[in-house]
Symmetry: C2
Subunit: 550 residues, 2 copies
């Protein structure tokens, strides 16, 4: 069974090297092209996806007391797929009985299997792209990238980090303590990697694979069995993932139930029962702060790793490329209709305007510049659909409607041609209106906020990050000293800062092997993808030792 490890060893070594370099690296092509994925990959993926619709999803040997499934594409049609479902006690019992064999496997056996799984998942990225598109509402190009290769990158990153952690100390050592003139004491020591137990990964609707792969792959690599709890609205992408893993486990002689799918329904949710189950020793969670707080309170002795929500800000202090800035911000607001955890919501602009390469721009001119850039970006219906996609959750549409009354509408939201959709709403408010902009309003809702000056904007944005959470922050500025002050302020607040982004790079983007996603230092989450803290606690080392007989 070591052959999978051997086969993928170079990939693993490259990944480990990339973790140390933090430059650009990815083994999984992000371009949905036949050049990388094979001439017929696009159609094959489409066909495979279509074949899933209206059918029972096959997970051979999976615990099943009933079938559930109520996914409806944000683009319209119901998927009609059913998944096996069982109660928490049944799932945990199945996971526990599968766990010993997996825990006893050598780390390289586990890692080799997981690398093979990622390669297989990569090969089916077109099918995954369709699955992600029709559960999250992401436009296909993004669904392919974020749900496919970028998620696989994050999974690989977790496997490589876990491998590195497990390799930090040897499996055997000889401890020889001098005793002066007497013979030394010589002890042989042996260490086993002992996983924590059964892990639970709770996925979200908007990024079912990207946000869940790190926890799933980190737990598996370190020897834990994993119960994957998908969002009921985005089950298919994780069901596909679970199917790949279960098949591969069986091929390699492990119990399939090392990985289980906890599909449930709105009527009979299973998440709370799983979180509260004493055998669950690790919980990975992506979702709201409110349920995140519940998970953290109720998970008992389990380790809990979360990505929750926050209020991401942009501060515009001054800029030497005004049009490019407006275009860049417009794209960040429009991409997947603001439904990324990294999307900006609050744009702080000095009330008396900013200096730009186009001369002094008033507060209103800055707001209008961004609004116009959104209009321009979304003017072509096809491009608009390709950028903004659809709205995952109907509640988001209501939220946009409510937000219109929170200030002066600079740009109104409107539906696009296809599916449940809404373009960015941009509302101008004053710094004092914190009730409007000071909490997360998930979706295509942005505020342009008039502040005293750039430092006031930085201070308010950093304070929001610290107290309400923020994953990202952005700054446009030409004053180097203030840029460095802002870097300090946002670092203290635990938000990653992007400065003067223009062109084809956006504050929303977080690249595996380079960007640590979330710092864990503010309410937007307690974990960071993927640092060693995210992985190291999932296992421990247990030793046995004895004297070496001379």
């Amino acid at each position: 069974m070591a052959s999978l490890f051997h086969r993928h060893r170079t990939l693993l070594e490259q990944a480990v090297a990339a973790l140390g370099d933090r430059g650009f690296w990815s083994p999984f092509p992000e371009v949905p092209s036949g050049k990388f994925y094979g001439e017929t990959a696009r159609e094959d993926g489409q066909t495979a996806y279509q074949a899933r619709l209206g059918a029972a999803f096959a997970l051979p040997g999976h615990p099943e007391s009933t079938r559930v499934g109520a996914e409806v594409s944000p683009y319209g049609p119901a998927l009609g797929i059913t998944y096996p479902s069982a109660d928490a006690a049944t799932l945990v019992a199945a996971s526990e009985s599968a766990s010993s064999a997996w825990a006893a496997a050598a780390p390289d056996t586990r890692v080799g299997l997981l690398l093979e799984a990622l390669k297989r998942l990569n090969a089916m990225s077109f099918e995954m792209g369709n699955a992600v598109m029709h559960t999250t509402g992401q436009a296909f190009p993004m669904a392919f990238q974020a749900g496919g290769p970028h998620a696989q990158d994050r999974g690989l990153e977790a496997v490589a980090t876990a491998w590195l952690e497990m390799s930090r100390a040897p499996a055997r050592a000889v401890w020889e303590k001098p005793q002066g003139k007497a013979d030394p004491i010589v002890i042989e020591k042996h260490w086993r990697i002992v996983p924590r137990g059964v892990a639970l990964a709770i996925g979200c609707q908007t990024f079912p694979t990207w946000n869940s792969y790190p926890g799933i792959f980190a737990s598996l690599a370190t020897g834990n069995s994993v119960i994957v709890k998908p969002h009921p609205g985005a089950t298919l992408p994780l069901a596909l993932t679970v199917a790949v893993l279960r098949d591969l486990l069986a091929e390699e002689g492990f119990p399939r139930d090392v990985v289980l799918l906890a599909a449930d329904s709105a009527e009979a949710p299973v998440t709370k029962d799983l979180v509260r189950h004493p055998a669950i020793r690790i919980v990975d969670y992506t979702g709201s702060n409110a349920f995140g707080a519940w998970v953290r309170e109720n998970a008992g002795e389990a380790l809990v790793y979360t990505e929750e929500a926050g209020v991401n800000s942009i501060v515009i202090a001054g800029v030497d490329a005004f049009a490019a800035m407006c275009a860049n911000v417009a794209f960040s607001l429009s991409l997947y209709s603001g439904q990324m955890c990294t999307a900006p919501q609050d744009i702080f602009v000095p009330w008396d305007g900013i200096d730009t390469d186009e001369g002094r721009k008033s507060f209103d001119e800055v707001a209008a510049g961004i609004a116009d850039a959104v209009d321009q970006l979304l003017a072509d219906p096809d491009r608009a659909a390709g950028v903004a996609g659809a709205i995952a959750n109907p509640a988001t549409i209501d939220r946009v409607a409510d937000a219109r009354s929170l200030g002066r509408v600079v740009r109104d939201s409107a539906p696009l041609a296809g599916g449940r959709s809404a373009t960015p709403l941009i509302v101008a408010v004053d710094a004092a209106d914190e009730a409007a902009y000071g909490e997360e309003r998930f979706g295509p809702i942005a505020f342009v906020i008039a502040v005293a000056d750039a430092d006031d904007g930085i201070a308010r944005a950093a304070a929001l990050a610290m107290h309400k959470g923020a994953i990202t922050a952005a700054l446009y500025d030409t004053d180097e000293a203030r840029i460095l002050r802002a870097a300090d302020a946002f670092a203290r607040a635990g938000a990653n800062l992007s400065v003067n982004l223009t062109g084809n790079i956006f504050v929303n983007q977080s690249a595996a092997f380079s960007d640590f996603h979330v710092t864990g230092l503010n309410p937007s989450g307690n974990a960071s993808l993927t640092d060693s803290a995210f992985v190291a606690g999932r296992f421990a080392r247990a030793m046995w030792r004895r004297p070496v007989v001379a």
Copy 2:
């Protein structure tokens, strides 16, 4: 200020190498000899300790609303030392206001300062030995070793692990993403190590330095300010430590309050207020399971690292050196009168006896062999005092008295000549008497338990470890297959196993840089000294990035 780092760089590199090798390594001589510490070190240390007695302990600039101090040596005299004391809010405010400068220091500056602190603490190991002896009751040789060089080893291990973790990713990288035929996107990225905030280290009475140094030094190395909460009965060893750190901080231009002492009294305890304070982001705790559970429940969002209590077992299945085994077990039971967290309590022996090099030994003969070996070890009063020391807490004496009625007394406990003392009580019970042996009875109390056979003993000991906690386990066996089965069973239960120890090495001993102390997998604690999980969560990385201007 980088000079301290430069001065101690070789030491750091050796420590980092030792962490990877896990063989024997220590830079701090464990022998209390003038050969290592200087001709006059012993008397100088004694004199320095004497000078502390009956006086106000000086901590210049430390917050102080009152003075507290009620330490009484287990060997008799009250220490009469008073320490500055302040309420939780005052301490946290002082820690917070000192924290920015420390957080902003470069990792090598912090690490250099901490290495220098460890060197200074090492130089005063004789004074520390006296301080530890007269607060914990450890005999001087052990107080010197465990309170001095071995604690320093654990501190150094934490610093080296923290250094390694902080060095895992660069402070700067260039991310260059190809764009086909267009120019690549080139982004410069900068990372700051951001500490979690204010850390609290709650010490215990029996090992005030050894158990607290890992948390204190790991938190400091990663940029957190630290409030050191000593046990009211063992304040001096940590006050000495805090004084060294505060002086050094001042010398190097940092606020002294980066390290604070939270001395309190039984009448006005401060620990709960500190644990519940929202600004406390890290808690290191050593102590009882009951208070440990309270800490874990009440620490809010703080990371909590604990070493709690457990029931350590020995299983005697068979032995080819009966006398040496009895002597080894006797020493483990007698050393510091069973007041080590690693000391065995439960000795499982097949009811129908075992095979030995001295022929078949009945259950009673095994129990008697161990009892006799204790008698022999403690026959000489000087040696007895040097091994068993004194009893830290009067409640332990009561516990010994109560334990006599729990079974058939094989060896009775008795006081020694000097101080509050008690030699090991050994009580024989049946496997069914789990009410007697199935919970921790801290102090010189041991049970010899008749089990069906060796496998039954292993199963019972491992189950106790899993459910009640255990840091150590020991096995005497001549059956290789059973030894490996036991290694699996105790690994699953999260207890480190020592097999067939005889001579000058004992199950109680845990060596820095080689043995991971506690696994974190059972109720005896949730952390492991010192793996990367113990350190990595104490800080995060925050990034700022911007396009590289061509």
